[in-house]
Symmetry: none
Subunit: 301 residues, 2 copies
DNA sequence: CTACTTGATACCTTTAAGGTATTACCAATT
DNA sequence: AATTGGTAATACCTTAAAGGTATCAAGTAG
């Protein structure tokens, strides 16, 4: 049994005539006759009655014709779906996201990807930095989003953007009217920091900045993420330094003001990490979307 | 593309090693390598990653493996059905069954059908709801049994019975002596639910019932099927709500008690699904047996 | 009966699958 | 760093089988 034989059989069944079917198949009549005979031999069933005008399907032949069409269509489907999967247009992509990164950039990228590759099922996982790295290695996810990543031998990363620092202030605070706050103005003021968790993280950047500027940092609370930190500002716990992209989050009584008087390297990156040896087309397609997003971002700025 | 190549591909995918697969296929390694290469060329997709230990499926390869198995099984079916038709026998009916439905109703129906049509070869397939629908559309099965089916344009269904709810209890539990358990008595008690998988399912029904009765549902475990759920009851994990037809399953230390105080719509159907445009005499015969079974069931009640 | 059409057969050519020997490659080990 | 064991890939040859040409046999129509 052979796909060729099935195709030949369907042609003969449709033409009800071996010679005509042979022409349609661009072969000569004798080999076609032989292929049909072989098929009948193998199935041990007569598929056609030979008549003077050509051939006619037996009832078994009629049944086999239906089956044959199903088989051919399933094969066609399989080819097409596999090709699409090979181009990254079909499948499932597991993506890890983290606390404050979710606020606008990541949804934007995911929305673009979904539009470009509607056949791909995106599954999101909330994971800390350490969890993301472990999950990448175990192939439970293909991409992770995070900040301040130390380079690793088996993991590559692409920086998406660099956030400047901003200060979250209660709007009834004297500093809230200023267009720019200088770091020195926060000397010994109560500060809420985040996140708890794997180093290096955003806290380390913030404390380095304070240290280099010779300003005393008075940490009153350490919380799990930006949202909680900003909520505490709203609750009057003090100031909170945040990456500028977190400023899309609006809470009652909280204003965001750019932080001035900082060195150029006082920024946090948002990066996208993936296994160095993952060459799957889905990942490539995703990274292409990330790059496109990134270059568009740069052109705007 | 060739059936031979598909068979070869499946063998390599299963062995994860071209040399071993070649042995299994009783050919030598080089031609097998070449056939796989040809297949990849034709599909223009890399199906395997070559590693030091052998080969590994790419995601496209994984997809093609599923498709390939479907194709091979359809071909096998086609051959068998055609041969039977040629011998004047009735044929073969592929039936999909699922987890807990197998316990008594389905075997009863199959037994009746086998008695009435001894010439028909019934081939059973274990499939989830989603798999059944896909397999119906690809004609790999003709009938499926399942519960809680949402209506679909191309698929018809016949309800066989409606199961009331029962509670599986450990027999050393105080409630185990009662003839009837009221839902309120399960307030905040540990509950095991099933199944995992496609919605809507039995869990949704159960949680709706709890909600409407204003009773707090305290889910301690979610498991794959009724058998596992009841096994956990036996293991002391708590209660488990089941469709009454699952109560034929006896496990040590487990008692089944009817659940009272429920609305009339607190039932799960067991239904039989098939393609709307399948007019094969075999399917009609099967559905006739199902109807007969159903009406007999109603007369008893 | 003859002309014509059909599928079947005989025999040759060509394509492609399968085999053997060998190479290239990677990883683990020494 | 070199070696070994196991893997897939390549080169080249052999063989099986698909396809082609010529012809035959068997019906049907005129």
């Amino acid at each position: 049994m052979d796909i060729r034989q099935i195709r030949y059989f369907v042609a003969v069944a449709e033409e009800r005539n071996i010679g005509r079917a042979a022409k349609r198949l661009f072969i000569s009549q004798p080999p076609l006759t032989r292929q049909i005979q072989q098929l009948e031999d193998e199935l041990q069933v007569k598929l056609f009655e030979r008549t003077a005008k050509g051939v006619e399907l037996t009832s078994a032949g009629q049944l086999f014709l239906n089956e044959s069409r199903n088989i051919l269509s399933l094969i066609e489907q399989a080819q097409e779906r596999t090709q699409r999967a090979g181009k990254g247009q079909l499948g499932r992509l597991d993506v890890a996201i983290f606390g404050s990164g979710i606020l606008n950039t990541i949804p934007d990228i995911l929305k673009r990807f979904k539009t470009a590759y509607p056949g791909v099922n995106i599954v999101l996982h909330q994971m800390s930095k350490a969890e993301q790295i472990e999950a990448l290695r175990q192939k439970r996810i293909s991409v992770g989003f995070n900040r301040l990543l130390a380079p690793l031998p088996d993991i590559d990363s692409t920086m998406i953007l660099q956030d400047k620092l901003m200060v979250a202030v209660r709007d009834d605070h004297p500093l809230a009217t200023k267009p720019l706050i200088n770091l020195k103005e926060l000397d010994n003021e109560p500060i809420v920091v985040f996140p708890k968790g794997a180093r290096p993280n955003f806290v380390d950047l913030v404390s380095r900045v304070f240290q280099e500027a010779g300003v005393t940092m008075n940490i009153t609370q350490t919380v799990i993420d930006a949202v909680t930190g900003i909520a505490l500002v709203s609750g009057g716990f003090g100031f909170c330094l945040i990456p500028s992209s977190a400023s899309v989050l609006q809470l009652p009584g909280v204003k965001y003001i750019p932080l001035g008087g900082l060195p150029d390297n006082a920024t946090v990156d948002l990066s996208c990490i993936y296994l160095k040896d993952d060459h799957s087309p889905l990942l490539s397609a995703f990274l292409a979307v990330v790059h496109e997003y990134k270059s568009q971002l740069n052109n705007q700025a």
